[in-house]
Symmetry: D2
Subunit: 345 residues, 4 copies
Amino acid sequence: MSKRVGIVGGSGYVGGELLRLLLFHPEVQVTQVTSRRYVGRYIHQIHPNLRGVTDLRFKSPDDLEACDVIFVALPHGETASGLDQWADLAAYIIDCSPDFRLRDASDYKRWYGRDHEAPEMLSHFVYGLPERHRAQLTEARYASGVGCNAVAVILALAPLAEAGLLETATVEIKVGSSEGGSLANDASHHPERSGVVRVYSPSGHRHLAEVEQELGSIPIHLTVTAIEMVRGIHLTAHCFLRSGSQLREEKDVWALYREAYAEEPFVRLVASRTGLYRYPEPKLLIGTNYCDIGFALEKGSEVLIVMAALDNLVKGAAGSAVQSMNVMLGWDETTGLSFPGLHPV
Amino acid sequence: MSKRVGIVGGSGYVGGELLRLLLFHPEVQVTQVTSRRYVGRYIHQIHPNLRGVTDLRFKSPDDLEACDVIFVALPHGETASGLDQWADLAAYIIDCSPDFRLRDASDYKRWYGRDHEAPEMLSHFVYGLPERHRAQLTEARYASGVGCNAVAVILALAPLAEAGLLETATVEIKVGSSEGGSLANDASHHPERSGVVRVYSPSGHRHLAEVEQELGSIPIHLTVTAIEMVRGIHLTAHCFLRSGSQLREEKDVWALYREAYAEEPFVRLVASRTGLYRYPEPKLLIGTNYCDIGFALEKGSEVLIVMAALDNLVKGAAGSAVQSMNVMLGWDETTGLSFPGLHPV
Amino acid sequence: MSKRVGIVGGSGYVGGELLRLLLFHPEVQVTQVTSRRYVGRYIHQIHPNLRGVTDLRFKSPDDLEACDVIFVALPHGETASGLDQWADLAAYIIDCSPDFRLRDASDYKRWYGRDHEAPEMLSHFVYGLPERHRAQLTEARYASGVGCNAVAVILALAPLAEAGLLETATVEIKVGSSEGGSLANDASHHPERSGVVRVYSPSGHRHLAEVEQELGSIPIHLTVTAIEMVRGIHLTAHCFLRSGSQLREEKDVWALYREAYAEEPFVRLVASRTGLYRYPEPKLLIGTNYCDIGFALEKGSEVLIVMAALDNLVKGAAGSAVQSMNVMLGWDETTGLSFPGLHPV
Amino acid sequence: MSKRVGIVGGSGYVGGELLRLLLFHPEVQVTQVTSRRYVGRYIHQIHPNLRGVTDLRFKSPDDLEACDVIFVALPHGETASGLDQWADLAAYIIDCSPDFRLRDASDYKRWYGRDHEAPEMLSHFVYGLPERHRAQLTEARYASGVGCNAVAVILALAPLAEAGLLETATVEIKVGSSEGGSLANDASHHPERSGVVRVYSPSGHRHLAEVEQELGSIPIHLTVTAIEMVRGIHLTAHCFLRSGSQLREEKDVWALYREAYAEEPFVRLVASRTGLYRYPEPKLLIGTNYCDIGFALEKGSEVLIVMAALDNLVKGAAGSAVQSMNVMLGWDETTGLSFPGLHPV
């Protein structure tokens, strides 16, 4: 019998992606979706791609009823305060916000500039990235969200970091406009946002908190740049390897990354010698749960260039959340996540 | 037991979409894909979105073996000459080219400028648009392709034409660059093609032949304009109604179109009073098999504005082909075609 | 000695273009620019392309001082109320708003839904399109703005209309996002606006009021569609010619349009048999004051397809305003308007 | 009296930009333009933005006649072989190709993989970047081209390098499709090129040869990535400063860069605390000769993030060439280069 799923905060972009994925997920039934702003409106009025797919309407979060799994896609800071209510209603809670990503409340304060509202709950959440915490998720009832940029950095650099090969890295991430959420602002006005190459975070991006938690205290210098793109993240990392690293040729890098990811259903290694799509390319991943990773070794130096791409709303948010649910509930991890992406697009 | 499917001419954009749809179709198994140019190459080297999805390689069309259904996605003029070979190999043939769309060989000559190579076969093909020929397809073994622009015009105007309400229409269709196929040329060079609003067919587009065959001899004045878009077709038609038409208010138009399409799984009526997506919008349909249709009645005139949108590679090609197969083989018509599209994108 | 120019309402997109053009105009000196919202801010903080070009700051409109020419680029409805003040300060006033485009106050009420605030001034304004009112502008002290879409329709169809050849026309205009102005809203949010083909005015667009005033009461059915573009207007018109029109071949159309526009510095006829840029193309006109016009005669019908393109912020607004000033002050009409546009772009 | 200018290889994108700039340059007259491919064709047939601007036609390079200045915009490897001919025809030669950028023929062989064809001429050329070689250009008769990516790196990092502050840097450059030239290929096919984030040079880009020549042997790790853009270069550099560098706060960086560039007409420092355009943005520079440079100091590390933007066809090619001509012929350096760029765009 299919599990009943509720989505709290279903009107934003992550909420929309949760709906797109869960409405077609064979093990679950979406029974309720909340939005304080759009109570009573049909879902397809806000998520026009779902026209004809569902007749659900948004309800008030105050009217949420018991179900099996609750997904939360609220803005930063709003999950912690609602947690008690939802814990009474569902056995499983999967958050997409930043609120429960960091294990240590003091890290939260340092990066988000305020006290955590439910520090006692932090230890109940597992970081919702199955590639890193699969075993824990199997046992967990609560999973945290993941930062979309953090996922790219973590998956791209983890093999190097875990092998003790990474001295330091500079990372340039290019992002699309959907990363900024569904609310309009001066910076998102089409004539101003269109065609930009706009460094909006030269350094100190908050997602580094998650990266540090996962990879340890390796110095990672991260810039984030908005480009002409709606969905997608592309990462280019210059990795300074520890001197004397065993990565002398690209086949050594292949071996290291294959060992890390060969069994992962959603991590693909992309580093071809020929063809147009030699390295990871975010446009191919639109709508998919893949994180593609590639690399190239610089000649005559100890620098490895690592590239990665993913869809910020899927692998960087709703897709990893659904994947985490699959793990937590014991289903095939890829269930409901098989869309392969489009070409050309 | 699943049906074995072969794809002839699988390296182009329509071939790629056939693969994307058929590799996930629960009733079929893709057993062979041909490409004269790429014999021996992995499919994902040409269709990079299928990386990790299939290990198939392209084979020579000369090595095609028996199977249950053959899809043909060859350039114009190449299907007619291969038909005999494929007819020996498979019971069902579904073409995507223009070769068997027109019932009358003289029409072919008039619009394509040369004699048809297999005129005796024309009567065996049913025009592969289930919304128009469902009953015939149920009995058919061969289905023709459909012109992507023709599908938009036919579905948008058919209810008016069949009700005898349409005096004449002017139609402006905007198309994306994938409509030009997968081969590069001067006009498709990114710096030249990017950002264009380029009328490439002011009048006399070949797809009008199909429109005339379906809708009769109503004068339709069609321009086709390339815009900044990869996938997608958007149609705006100014329909001059017969004077004294009963379409006095928009609810009359709703009634007419609802009657025509209420049962159609892939035609949606989109004409809202509010919201951002009030009318059909091709970007929402990327990857889907929908044709969305909307309309607005001009005040003080007998002009009805009809709008339509679809994905030229799906509803305008591979999707209608798969839908036709579903009808021909007696499966649920929506099988394998449930991708709802993305938002935002 | 150069003339002193003031710009009222200089923070919007039209204000920005006026500044770009006037700061390099050899006959004038921009001495003051107002913006109620940005008093005291440097101009380049709002118009970043002018960084290093001027040290002017915005001042309050209340502090406006005497000068020779005042350009007004305020939102609809705000010019009429300020007119008395500016008339005391400058001999020449060139408006860019819709407030003084229509000669008849009752037309204003019909199209804009409210009474005109200064109907007694309407007769003092000349419609600011030199291609249509050059002689009057030579004598005028006040010029009105022009509707960007109206300019495209008027210039595209005037030769036909004036020759009495036009029975009726359907017009599809595609526009960029800058036409919506500089203020963000839900519809202009990049993830929602990017890649759209969005019919935002199926019929009854206000600019038709200007078209009717210029071309007479020919039925013109106009839709306006937003596409992926920041600047630019592209028009496709299907013109139903009066039966028995003398336009039997394209050379007849050439003759008609050449007669109309051969001496016009900013109207170019573009209808080539070869090349990528056979017809008008808005991207080539970005930043320029050109309106390019092309045409194609449909075979076997009495339909002429006319195409036109222009930059909505230049020929459709600030450029025509500067051109009008040049005419009004007796300067070479092209002064300050020689930027030829870019390719590729 | 104006100088007569000839352009050799005028049909490509750099040739087109030379024409756009030189046709409006008040000190020169373009008297001849060559193109082997397009002999006899009007210039505006190839450069459609110049329609109505000039009636010149392309002539064969074999028919080149004497003039005052010859600009050469031929593909790599073709300048060296023609040099003797042009030296007989004109006193000044300004090349845009890579052929004479490197002073040392052995560097040429190392980076371009073949022997230089006219090594004896290398010493006659001055690197055509006035910001670096103004004094030499004043005396020079021959100027070399500059690499568009090289200009961005050199101008962005020179102040740090010359002050001995730069230990090493990683540089990520994003480029538009016009950087690939005017000839179509599989990678430039619009459906494939549109929307990409494609690392096409992970390391070892040839323009590093110029960077090394200008900045010395500082290790610079450069990746070049194609993004959705036609014109424009955007650079993000992570600069590892020598430990104990005096750059402790951003005002120190401002001081260093101001000292370097305060007098430069085409280098602007852009690092604002507020506004949408806080850092360099290539779209604002389309058509201009500016190189905008910005920076941000990372807290708690010795890493300075430097950003730069320019138009690859102007400051990265034709604009620097015209600027060099202005210096060489003793004219105001900004002559003909005052276009300020557009906003919005």
